[in-house]
């Protein structure tokens, strides 16, 4: 498969980036094609601009600033998002990648006069999220699991109708020792090998 891995952690040597690297290595050894986007390393601008907002319905070919990211999404048959969960969801830089890249003409089309969007990423058949939570599972349940809903519902609706979803999450990371961290990294590796 063509796997697009998108990572978002400000600290290069972080555990989240370690998970991303382990995922990429597992995907490559399983024979997949992999493209990696490191939003922090490339200094991705998170804020959708006024010009972008005004040109919302314009053809995506006119949007040079996101062309590379849009091309990655068209190329991908699998998508893996790797991020730390903050305030129940992905970091702003990843939310911004969704706000700015998953636009009309790339992620969906809105036929003239219709209020219903048509999925444009039906070639994506796998959608996986690898994330860490400082707090426990039940605290995250209380907080509403915003990141999980965003990926597994909102984004998934624009992928293949039978796209397989994987939610790989380490809860209670602040209290987790090295053993649970390595166990989780191994779990991510296994999941990627079978993607």
């Amino acid at each position: 498969m063509n796997v697009l891995v998108v990572g978002a952690h400000p600290v290069a040597e972080s555990y989240s980036n370690h998970l991303r690297d382990r995922a990429v290595a597992a995907l490559l050894s399983a024979g997949h094609q992999v493209r990696v986007t490191d939003l922090y390393a490339e200094g991705f601008e998170a804020r959708l601009s006024r010009a972008e907002h005004r040109a919302h319905h314009a053809d995506p070919s006119t949007k040079a600033v996101i062309a590379g990211h849009a091309d990655d999404l068209r190329w991908a048959t699998a998508l893996v998002l790797v991020y730390p969960t903050w305030w129940s969801g992905p970091p702003a830089i990843m939310k911004g990648w969704i706000d700015r890249v998953w636009v009309e003409g790339v992620a969906y089309t809105l036929p003239q006069g219709s209020a219903r969007v048509r999925a444009n990423l039906r070639h994506i058949r796998r959608l996986a999220v690898v994330t860490t939570h400082g707090s426990s599972w039940w605290v995250n349940a209380l907080e509403g699991q915003v990141g999980r809903l965003l990926a597994l519902r909102s984004l998934r609706l624009l992928c293949h109708p039978r796209a397989r979803r994987r939610w790989l999450a380490l809860y209670g990371m602040d209290r987790a020792g090295d053993a649970s961290r390595s166990a989780f990294a191994a779990r991510v590796e296994r999941a990627m090998a079978k993607l």
Partner: protein
């Protein structure tokens, strides 16, 4: 009451900007003290930096002046009003990043070093308000999960206190609304903010 209005929309001529103005007008007419923070106009950078993240685990988690200004607003406020367009069933990145960078340990909560237990620190916030627009109809928003509302009503309320009242004012199917419907919503926002 001292009310912090957090506004996030890239276009100052948008309906979203009109909503922020309507909220400020309503609050002002009721005699509240209002601070309006326009995150786009102020050029607030929502991306937590390496420096921020490394400081997060220390006793002084705020290392950036633009963030410190925001933490002063948070300490000052007794109510926070969020005005934003819902994108991807959630907060625009600029507003999500405001939470990421401003609501850190020592500001929004305290983190016990040993037990890693979180203690809320925003109990002085007596009211939360969300004013938002959705492109989608209400049933769609319900089906995919209203991430923006969840973030404010649940994740944020966790550090204010579960009994903190929440007022939610929403306009669905925003792109197909008539001018009259939009004006009616603006009037509703002003009227509701006037009796906060």
């Amino acid at each position: 009451m001292r009310v912090l209005v957090l506004f996030a929309h890239p276009d100052p001529d948008s309906f979203g900007a009109a909503l922020a103005a309507a909220a400020v007008q309503g609050l002002g007419s009721a005699g509240h003290e209002v601070r309006l923070v326009d995150l786009y106009a102020d050029g607030f950078d929502p991306v937590m930096t390496r420096h921020d993240r490394l400081a997060y685990d220390t006793d002084d988690a705020v290392v950036d002046d633009s963030v410190r200004t925001q933490t002063e607003h948070v300490h000052w406020a007794e109510a926070i009003v969020f005005v934003y367009p819902t994108w991807w069933s959630g907060l625009p990145a600029v507003l999500k990043g405001w939470l990421d960078r401003v609501l850190v340990p020592g500001v929004a909560f305290r983190l016990d070093e040993r037990t890693r237990k979180v203690t809320p620190a925003l109990q002085h916030i007596r009211h939360l308000v969300g004013i938002t627009t959705y492109g989608s109809p209400r049933p769609y928003v319900a089906a995919v999960g209203d991430g923006g509302r969840r973030t404010i009503a649940r994740a944020l309320r966790m550090v204010c206190g579960w009994r903190t009242p929440l007022t939610w004012l929403a306009l669905h199917r925003m792109d197909t609304r008539t001018d009259a419907e939009r004006r009616a919503f603006l009037a509703r926002v002003t009227e509701r903010m006037a009796r906060l």
